[in-house]
Amino acid sequence: MKKKVLASLTAMLLATSMLFGCGKEAAETPASASKSETVASSEEKSGGETQTTASKYQTTYGSKQFDNVTIKVELFDRSNAPDGSTITDNKWTKYVNEQMNKVGITVEFIPVPRWDEVTKMQAMVASQTAPDLTLTYTYAYAEDYFNQGGTWDLSEFIDGDDQALNMKEYIGNDVLNIGRNLNGNLYGIVAKRATTAKSNFFIRKDWLDKLGLQIPTNPDELYTALDKMVHENPNGMNGVAGAIIWNGWNLKQVFSKIAGDPVAVQVCGGGEDVIQDYYDPGMYDYYKYLNKLYNAGILHQEYYSLAEDDFKSQIVTGNLGFCEYSVNGNVDVLRGSLLKTLKENVPDADFVSIPQFANVNDGKVYTAGYGAGGLIAFCPKTASEEVVEACMTYLDWMCTDQGGFVLYHGFEGEHYNMIDGVPTVIDAEYNAQDKDWIRTDIFLVGNQGYFATVDDFNKCTSKEAPGFEDYVIQNYEYSLQGTVNHDTAYTSPSTPDLITDLNIAKDDYQVKMITCKPGEFDDMYNEYMAELKDVGIDTIISEREEYYGK
C-alpha cells in the first residue's frame, strides 16, 4: 500500500515537472520571435536616418554628454590584486571613472573569476543578470546569444560615419568585422591582437656549432642534426631527448598540402587539430616524419604524455635539442625565462629560434598565426539602449591615448619613458605591483596590450626581457615569416557535439601513429581516418566548406 502511494506520487511529480518543462518552452518561443522583429525594425529605422542626419546614437568619446548613466562592465579577476586595493576598487578603476565621469558615465565593475568565465557567463546570461558589457573568448557563445535574440545588434551604434571614430581607427574594420554574422549584424566588439605570432622552432645552437653543423633549413637537415645531437652528443651526454614538438603548428605548415590555398586553410583552420588531420593530406607526411624521428630515438619517447612543466624541465636541464613551442618560449618571462635558467645549469648553452622551413610540396614558406581577434564584448538585452550607447562610448574611449594606452602602459615618467617611440618600462617591479596585474583585463579592446603597430609591440616586448632583447626581436620576426595562415574564429554548428569524440580518436591515434613501427604506419593512418569518418567529421567539413564558400 505504502509503496503504491509512493510510486504514484513520484509518477505524478514527474509528470508535473515534464508539463512545466513543455509549458515554459512553448511560452518562450513567441517572445523571442518578437524580440528579433524589433531588432530588425529598429535597424531599418537607423539605417534610414544615418543618411540624412547625425546618427541616433553617439558613441565617439566626447561627442555626447550622458545624463549620469551607470554601466556594469565585466572584469576578469585573477586574484592578484595587491594589498590595499581590490579588483573593483583601485587606482585604475578610479582612473576609468574619473575619465568617464567627464561625459556623464559611471562604470561599475563586476568581477568574474578568469578561469570560470564561461560557466559564470552562462548562468548570468540565462538568468538575465549579465553585466551590460559581458566578455568571452568563445565567439560561438556571443553569436549564439545574438541569434537567440538575447543581445544587442551593435551595428546601429558603430556603423554610422560619425560613430565610434576612435574604435574604428584603433581596432580597424577588418577586426571589427570578425564580430559580424553572415547578415552583417555586429554581435560583439572584438579586441585587436597586437601580434598574431604564434609558434617557433627552437634549437640548441651551441650543440650545432660544436658539431660543425649549419642551422637546419628543412626536415631532413633537422633529422641529421638531431641524430648527431642524440647519438654523438658534443657534451658527451647520454640519453638526450632530441626533439619535442610541443605544438606542431609550424611544422604542420611545412608538410601541409593545402597551405597555399587560403579557402582550404580557413576550412581546416579552426584551431582544432583534428580537422586539419582529416582535411589536409599533407598530415600523412607530418605524422610519418614524427614516426621516423620516434623510431630513430630522436623524439622524446614519452613526449605525448608530458606535462608542460616536465617539458620545460627538459629544456632547462639541457636535455633537449629541438622543440616547437610558443613564439617567445625560450625567453618569455611568463613561461619562466627558460633560457636564463638553462644558462644557470649549463653555462655555455644557447637555445635560439630558427627560421621556418619551406613547405616540402611547393617550396614556399608558410607560418601559423593566431586569428586577428582577441576577446569579444557584447551587450545583453537587459541593458537599455542608453546603457548600450554608453558602453560603446566606453570602448571607444579605450581606443584613445588617454584610455587604453594609459590603462596598459601607465603614465609617462611614472611607469615608462618614451624611447625610440615606444614606451619603455622604468621599473618593472614597481609596474608589476602598481598596474601590470590588472592591465590585460581592464583593457578590453586589444589583446597583449595597446600597440598601434606590430613593430611597436615587438620593440616594447623585447624591453621586458632584459638581456635577451635580440632573442625576442628574432623570435617575433621568424614566427611571422612568409605567408601567415591565421586561425579562424568560426565554430560550425555540429562541432560542439562531435568534437569530444573526435579528440578522443585524435589523442589515441596520434600516439599510435607516432610510436608504431614504420611498417604499421599506413594501417594506423588509415584506421585513424576511418575512425574520424565514423564519428562524423564529414558533417563539420561540409559545414565549414559551406561557410567559407568552398
Partner: protein, 288 residues
C-alpha cells in the same frame, strides 16, 4: 611482550609500508615543491626533500589580504553551514524516524525526490536571486542545508535506537523534544560527528556555488580564491585564443603552496574526529 619474528609479519609490514608511502608520497612531494627554489622546481629535481629551502611561495600567498578575507568567508560558511545543516538534519531525521508521525511517507518521498531530480543550475540560480540571497554568504549554505543522503543515514541510525528506550521516557512524562535532547542525541554522537564532518568538508570545499552566487570579491570563498589564483595565469598557452602577455609569473611552488594551504586546515580536524568517524561510517550501513 615481544612478538616472535616471522616472514609473514615482515612481508605484511613491508606491503603496508609501501602502501602508506604511496599514499603519503604525493603529499610530501607537494610540500617539498612548495618550499623549494625556482631553479630546482623548474628543472624538476625535487622529490621528497626541499632543495634551496625557502618559504617565498607561502609568503606570497598568505601575504595577500584577499586570501585572509576568503579564509574568513570559508570559516563562516563552514561553521554556520555545518551548524544549520546538522540542526535541520537532526530534526528532520528524528521526526521522520518516528513510526507514529502522520504523513511520514509523504514527506520522506518529497525529500527523496530531490535526491533524484534537481531544479537545475539556472532555475536554482533564479530562486536564490529572487529570495534575496544572491551575493551573500547564506546563499552558500541555506539552499542546500539538508543533504538527502546524510539525512537518510541519520534517520536510519535513529531508527535503530531501541524503541523501548523512548517508550520508557515517554511513560515518565518526557516530551518529544526532551526525548531527542536527553536520549537520542547522547546516543548518537558518532553519527553526529560523522555527518558533521561530511557537511564541514563539503562547506570547506564550497567552490561552484560560490562561483555562481557570489559577486563581491570580499565574499569569495577560499577555494574560489585559490582556484582563480592558481589558474588565472595559466591560460596563456592553452589555445588559439591565448591572451599572450599576462601579468605575473606563476611558479610550480606557488601552485603547490596553494594546494597545501587549501588542504591542511581541514586535515587538522580529522584526527580529532577520527574515532567517531570510523565508527560512524559503519553505522547506518550495517543493521543489527
Amino acid at each position: 611482550m615481544r612478538k616472535k619474528f616471522s616472514w609473514g609479519r615482515l612481508i605484511n609490514g613491508l606491503l603496508l609500508g609501501i602502501l602508506a608511502f604511496a599514499c603519503l608520497y604525493p603529499f610530501l612531494n607537494v610540500l617539498a615543491y612548495s618550499v623549494s627554489g625556482y631553479n630546482a622546481v623548474l628543472s624538476g629535481r625535487v622529490t621528497f626533500f626541499p632543495i634551496d629551502f625557502n618559504v617565498d611561495a607561502y609568503k606570497q600567498i598568505l601575504g595577500k589580504t584577499q586570501i585572509w578575507m576568503a579564509m574568513r568567508s570559508t570559516v563562516i560558511v563552514t561553521l554556520a553551514g555545518t551548524a544549520l545543516s546538522l540542526f535541520l538534519t537532526i530534526l528532520a531525521a528524528f521526526a521522520l524516524s518516528r513510526k507514529d508521525l502522520p504523513g511520514k511517507s509523504f514527506f520522506t518521498a518529497v525529500i527523496l525526490f530531490t535526491m533524484y531530480f534537481s531544479g537545475g543550475m539556472i532555475p536554482t540560480f533564479l530562486v536564490v536571486k529572487n529570495v534575496g540571497l544572491f551575493d551573500s554568504l547564506p546563499a552558500l549554505f541555506v539552499p542546500q542545508a539538508i543533504n538527502v543522503f546524510n539525512f537518510i543515514v541519520m534517520r536510519t541510525f535513529f531508527k535503530n535506537i531501541p524503541e523501548s528506550l523512548e517508550e520508557a521516557a515517554r511513560i515518565d512524562g518526557a516530551s518529544y523534544m526532551k526525548v531527542l535532547i536527553k536520549m537520542i542525541l547522547p546516543l548518537s554522537v558518532p553519527i553526529i560527528a560523522t555527518i558533521g564532518l561530511f557537511y564541514a568538508v563539503g562547506y570547506w570545499n564550497t567552490y561552484f556555488d560560490a562561483l555562481l552566487y557570489i559577486q563581491k570579491p570580499e565574499l569569495y570563498t577560499l577555494q574560489l580564491r585559490l582556484r582563480s589564483l592558481l589558474f588565472g595565469e595559466e591560460l596563456n598557452n592553452s589555445n588559439a585564443n591565448a591572451e599572450g602577455i599576462g601579468t605575473q609569473v606563476m611558479t610550480q611552488s606557488l601552485k603547490m603552496a596553494t594546494v597545501a594551504i587549501s588542504t591542511i586546515p581541514i586535515l587538522v580536524i580529522y584526527p580529532w574526529l577520527q574515532k567517531y568517524f570510523v565508527k560512524g561510517v559503519m553505522i547506518g550501513s550495517v543493521k543489527g
